[in-house]
């Protein structure tokens, strides 16, 4: 087999209007964003972005794990839920905080600590689960790890339920409810904070995958595990790191969720996980940029449904989206990159 420059017969087969495509690729999303803004108004727009950021953080873990070992890690949504509980335990039960903290000098280290602890704990949980439950099944028929994953998800939920009970637990909203006024719109500072945190994490992840040795190991393992192994990549370590990063991001999403909504429950991870998975498929599973994009889109779909008065149907609409994507574009929006996974 030979590598040729991509020319020859492809040129003859280009469908009409192909020259317009790159332009459309920019114009259509821009129009959609502007349309969403006009339709929802600034407050709901930011609300959608905030939710989307949370889903995106969760979706990244799904897509990374799927990319590398082709497993739908059903327990991933529960990582997010547990992340929220770790942070509320730390802030509320260990430090005894209840209300908001207005001094930035006090708030900043607390936030950093909450993120740090939640991400570390969840990362450790993620790696442990991978070692105990998934690794022994790497060569088993595909059904086995899937069943294990759903079992793990149930275990995590029930552990949390036994500890914290079946009802909602309050999570201290330590971030002050300050609004930033832009024109007539009042945007909560917390929302901006969440969006910024999420975007920073995504960029960091992208740099990590694209620029570092470990990131390269991850990419090559995703593309061809056997070949990567032959080239001296430590497969076990790479997979463990993927789980670590994915779970840590879910943990961060949990912290953010606690700050934003102030309550958590043992089964929060179920629906959030479903939506985040939809986001991952929408973006093109295995593609980290796609997962982030998909997360924001799901956020907009959900908030859009609320604005139109269908808030009770939110989960059903998201699910409908998943089915529609699977019918029309199973490889997702950025799915062309599936073959040589980014």
């Amino acid at each position: 087999m030979t590598a040729l420059p991509a020319t020859s017969e492809a040129g003859a087969r280009v469908p009409m209007g192909a020259s317009l495509r790159p332009l459309l690729r920019l114009v259509i999303p821009a129009l959609l964003v502007v349309g969403a803004y006009a339709f929802m108004g600034p407050e709901q727009f930011v609300n959608a972005m905030t939710r989307g950021a949370i889903y995106a953080l969760i979706a990244l873990g799904y897509t990374m794990v799927y990319g590398i070992i082709e497993l739908i890690n059903f327990a991933h949504g529960d990582m997010f839920m547990m992340g929220a509980f770790v942070s509320l335990t730390f802030l509320g039960q260990i430090l005894g905080l209840t209300g908001s903290i207005t001094e930035i000098a006090k708030l900043a280290p607390l936030l950093v600590a909450a993120f740090f602890i939640s991400m570390i704990v969840m990362g450790a949980v993620g790696v442990t689960i991978e070692r105990l439950a998934y690794k022994p099944l790497r060569a088993a028929p595909r059904l086995a790890p899937l069943i294990t994953a759903i079992g793990v998800s149930f275990i995590l939920q029930n552990i949390v339920m036994l500890k914290y009970g079946p009802y909602q637990t309050n999570s201290p909203k330590i971030f002050p409810s300050v609004d930033i006024v832009i024109g007539t719109a009042k945007i909560p500072a917390l929302s901006l904070f969440i969006i910024v945190v999420a975007v920073v994490m995504m960029i960091a992840l992208q740099l990590f995958i694209g620029r570092t040795r470990l990131g390269r190991a991850m990419r090559s393992t995703a593309a061809d595990r056997d070949a990567a192994q032959l080239m001296g990549v430590n497969i076990n370590r790479t997979i463990a790191i993927t789980f670590l990063i994915g779970a840590a991001l879910a943990g961060a999403a949990g912290v953010v969720n606690g700050l934003q909504y102030g309550v958590s429950r043992f089964d929060d991870g179920f629906q959030a996980g479903l939506k985040a998975f939809t986001a991952a498929v929408l973006g093109g599973i295995g593609n980290t940029v796609g997962a982030a994009l998909g997360g924001f889109i799901i956020g907009f779909i959900e908030v859009g449904a609320t604005v139109m008065g269908f808030s009770r149907w939110g989960p059903a609409i998201v699910f409908g989206t998943l089915v529609i994507v699977l019918v029309f574009r199973p490889s997702g929006l950025l799915g062309q990159q599936l073959g040589e996974r980014a």
């Binding site: 087999m1 030979t2 991509a6 017969e9 492809a10 029309f328 040589e340």
Partner: protein, 337 residues
Amino acid sequence: MSENPLDNEPILVAEGVSRRFGGLVAVNTVDFTIPERAIVSLIGPNGAGKTTFFNVLLGVIDPTAGSVVFRGRRMIARPERVGFESLLWVLPAVLLGLLSGLLAEAGIVSGRLVALLGFLTLMLLVGSLLLAIIRPVWYSTALERIGIFRSARPNDMVTAGVGRTFQNIRLFQNMTAIENVLVGMHTQLHGNLLEAFLQTPRVKAEEKAAERRADDLLTLVGLHGKGNEGARNLPYGDQRRLEIARALAANPKLLLLDEPAAGMNPKETLDLVALISKLRDDLGLTILLIEHDMKVVMGISDRVTVLDHGEKIAEGTPEQVRKDPRVIEAYLGAPAA
């Protein structure tokens, strides 16, 4: 029958077949015809694109260009406007749904009728989805007429009359030999769900006949009396034979064998060559062999085609190919361009 099988009508015509994986061109504009009742071979060094070409012929992967016509029907080509097909599945249902919604809104029809229309909408959706999955021939033809083309899938090729074996044996290891052959007979049996439920005499008789035929096929490939042995317990050479029996069970017109002699000892190879000739002479099959090893194909092939770096570099009788300097170069690894 004519003296030279190469003069027969072609059973399969591949034109300009290319397959690209990203920047890598595995197969580059290959033309290839197989005359009926001929034994033709495709050879080439490792990584020449033989298996990719083979997989394109079998509908396992879509070509990026070119087409494959089997027995006069265009089976395989680059998919065209596939997205519209998904749209067609839902369009009738969506239209009917919208229509009934509008009618209800305008108060033209009663609630009961709306419910009925809603049910019809659902049935329409189910019907078109089922059609898309079962893919009867008329459905594909109708789609082709409006410019939507989807390549045949591996099972469509089997139904059309192409059988195959795999390079690294892929038997159903946990089944017995005869069960493997019975699975291969799937397209030849017609017992449906209801008949299976009721265990009708017809379906019972069909199963009996199928078992007899499976026995015959096992005998044909030289596995007489081994029907009840687990596939995984058979010796290597027998597993290869069993794969051929499984492929024969679907009554193919064309048999594609992917490196059938790989891993065989000289004795087994000889037996295999004899079997292949027998299949052509006694059953009138057309056979395409893919081989890495030139020696195997020289004895039995009517024609040999050589692939290298995804391109056809030579074609002709075994004698001609053996002498071709380009072939020698490709095989001996002389400094290539």
